[in-house]
Structure formats: structure tokens, C-alpha cells
Amino acid sequence: MSLEQFKDRNVAQNYVHIPVDKPPQKPMDKFKQVVRRTFKGELFVGLWVVFREMIKRDFHTVKYPLEKLPISPRYRAVHKLYRLLESGNDRCIGCGLCEKICIANCIRLETRYDEKQRKEVTEYSINLGRCIFCGYCAEVCPELAIVHGQRYENASEQRAHFVLKDDMLTPLDFLKEGKQEEFPGFGAVSPNADERIKKTPTAY
């Protein structure tokens, strides 16, 4: 399945309405229908259809743990925390907007001022057992620091595994290899963001 098909939300356009005849009322009509169906060979049409599918060998099975279907970039799975590209510091500035907006109350962060009087995030945890993956945190984040990733297999033996910051934050070696890709999905800046910027009211 291609990504375009997958993102097509207007599925109704592909619906085909099959004309259905009214069922026969009189006994004679019923008898005629039986005779027609008996000699029309509808049963053989059915046999042919499945046989054709068998020799075509066009399988639709996805062997799931071994292969996966592509998912939409707007899919909201487990969060990721990004780093600044050059310095490698957390992008998160500790503003606490995500904590504030979270309607499931599952985000918690602790901050303090470091020696340069800059805000530093000491703890950042998302209780994924509670998160409803609404995407508000990614949407509200002014720094594009928290985004939704595409890792949807989040089964675990322990609840504690659901809250680890280290799992969400881009590892440093990943960043150095340039593997941190900007996320095109939820909460991201739209491609034509520059055109959509309006000047402040005082200017016009």
C-alpha cells in the first residue's frame, strides 16, 4: 500500500453501489428465479474467482513482526524529544507548556537554573500508560522539542518503562551521525510556514 492511498481520507469516492433486485413475490417468480440461478452457473463463477486468485498468487499478508506497513507521518505514537543540531543540548527550554496543556495529566518536568542562570530541565517524564496520544504537547511546543514519533509497539512488562526520558531523547551518537530527522507530522511547522506569517497589527 502506498502512502498516498493511506493518506486518502475521502474513501467514499471509491464506493461502488451494487444494484439489488427486489425479491420475487409470486410462487411462479420464485420458481423462475431458482431455475435461472440453477442454470446460470453462478456457482461456477464463484469457483472461477477463487481459483483465479489462487493461481495469481497475489498475497496480501503482511508478516507483521518481520515487515510493517508504512504509517502516516501524522500518526501519533510514542513521543520523541529532540536535540539542537549543533550544540547537542536538549531543545526543551523547560517552559512547561506541554505539562500545562496535557489533558491526561501525564507529563511532568522539573527545572532549575544552572550556573549561567539558564533554565535547565532536570527531569522530563511522560506516563505513557496514561497518555491518550492527543498530540497537544507536540502542537503547543514552541521549540519543536517534543514530537510524536512512529514507534507504536509500546508493550512492556513494567509500568516504569513507560516514563523514561532516555528512551525518548535522541541519543547523542545518533545526532552526530545526522540521523535526527525533522518530523513532518503532528505539531510540525507546515512547509509553507514562511508565506503564512502575518506581520504584527501595528505594521499595517
Partner: protein, 331 residues
Amino acid sequence: MTTTGFIIATIIKILVVLGLFSALAGFGTYLERKVLAFMQRRLGPMHVGPYGVLQVLADGIKLFTKEDIIPQNAVKPIFMIAPIIGAATAFIALAAVPILPEFEIFGVKVHPIIADINVGVLFVLGVMASGLFAPLLAGMASSNKWGLLGAARTAIQLLSYEVVTGLSILAPLMMVGSLSLIDINNYQSGGFTDWIVWSQPVAFVLFLIAGFAETNRTPFDLLEHEAEIVSGYATEYSGMRWGMFFIGEYANMITLGFLASLIFLGGFNDWGFIPGGLAIVLKVSFLFFFFLWTRAAWPHVRPDQLMWLCWKVLMPIAVLNVVVTGIVLMM
């Protein structure tokens, strides 16, 4: 042949038939899953062994090691004996079926039939019919309403279709004049054009339809129709007792394939350049495949449609067929 030799040969034949056909029945489940999967654009079993061939083995291990649960209110002895009836009748029916043409091995002439009785067809159909006690007793003994419904359906379905089987097979038997399957086979020894299916096409179709109903296969698998009655007579069964029902069902399918091939499709006579032994294997394989094919293609019928089809359509046609055959034979 001496008596001792006869007994030894018979015992060997019994062991071979029993072993071969239970293995084939097991392998039949693999084939069924694979064929159905391909027809539904799936892959089917893939993980145990190459292309999932060893899935049968895994299933066997599972069935043998599963707990054998007997419900509290079930009638214990009948509940326990019912699956054995199912498997046993299926294999007993095979006793009078000539499986291959005669062949020689180590200088001994072998008749690949356990009991060459002169009423072969009668015996096979009779034993297969008595197999209906398996689902009937199972359903009634398991103190489960789905089981009871399955048992009731057994009574209506298998009993009614016995009539069609008997009547449809009567016409070819009138032509041959013998109930022995070997005589029926020899009647068609003249080649492709001698097959009884060409002179008795209606009987062939009726026999196949009734065969589907009697082996409880898809257009008529009302006994264990999952959508309506959970699993019918087998609802309360687990482990090997459940497995025995299915070995019986698949063995019955193979028996029916042999019957249809022997009576209508020329049996084990040489077919052009194909030797007889291979010919009958091909015919039975095709019929077995046909059983699976229809399962993928056709929907179920309702019980009332089943009864309507049996008594108002198939039975009159069968009677007419017998009458017409009789008139033609008299002239």
C-alpha cells in the same frame, strides 16, 4: 494362499491403510489451510518447517498434550466413546474400498483391498452412514445447547441425504448389475468414454452433492456452523477427542473421493498413457481439492434450505433418474 498367509497379509494391509490414511487425513488439514489461504490471498501456515509443512506435527503435539476435559453434566461413557465412533467408522468404511489396482511386490500378488466382499458399495455406504452416530451422540451427551443443536442437525442432515446417496447410486448399480466396487471398476475398463459419469451425469452430480452433505463439508456444514452454533456437536470437545472427529471427517472425505472415482470416474483403469494406480490417485486428489475449493467459494445454506433441497429437488430428480435408467435398460 494359506490361511496364515491371508491373515498376515490382511493385518499388514490394515496397518498400512490405517497409518497411511490417518497421515493423509492429517496432511489434508495442512492442504486445506494452505489452499483456502491461497484462494483468500493469504499465506497460510508458514513458520513451522519449510512453507509450514510441519504444522501438522505441531498441531498433533498440541492435540495430544491438551487436557481432555469432560463437562460436569455430560454423559461420560457416551461422551468419551462418540469420537471413537467417528474415527472408527471412517476407517472401517475404507476396508471394502479397492485403493489401487493389483500389483506385485517381492513376487507376491497384492490385492490392495482389505475385504473384497461382493456388496462393497452397500458396506461402505452403510458404515459411513453409521458414522452419523458420532456427531449425534457427541452432541446429545455433552450437555450443551450448541451441542444439542448440532446433534439435531446431524439427524436431519445426514439421515435425509442418505436417501439421496442411495437413490443416486442406484442408477449406476442397475447398469453394472453388481454391488462389488471391483466389478463396477471393471465395467468401465474400456477407457475414457466408458466412464459411468458420461451415461449417468445426473447421478454423479447428485452423489457429489449428497457426499458434501454426508461428510459435513461447506455448502452443507451445518453440524458445526461456527456463525450459528459455535462449533455444533464438537463444542465441548478438546484435545485428541476433538482431533478424532476431524481425522474421521478427512478420512470420510478421502473415502468419498475413492467412491466417486470408482463408481463414476473410471476407477483405477488405465487412463490413456496414465497407469491405473496414478490415475485413481489423481482423481481422488482432484475430488479432495474440489472439497476445499467449494469451501473457499460457496456460502453455507440454512437448515430449511438444506431440507428443501434434499426432499423437494434432489430426491425427485434421483427417483426420476432411476426410473429413466430403468426404462432405458428395459428397451
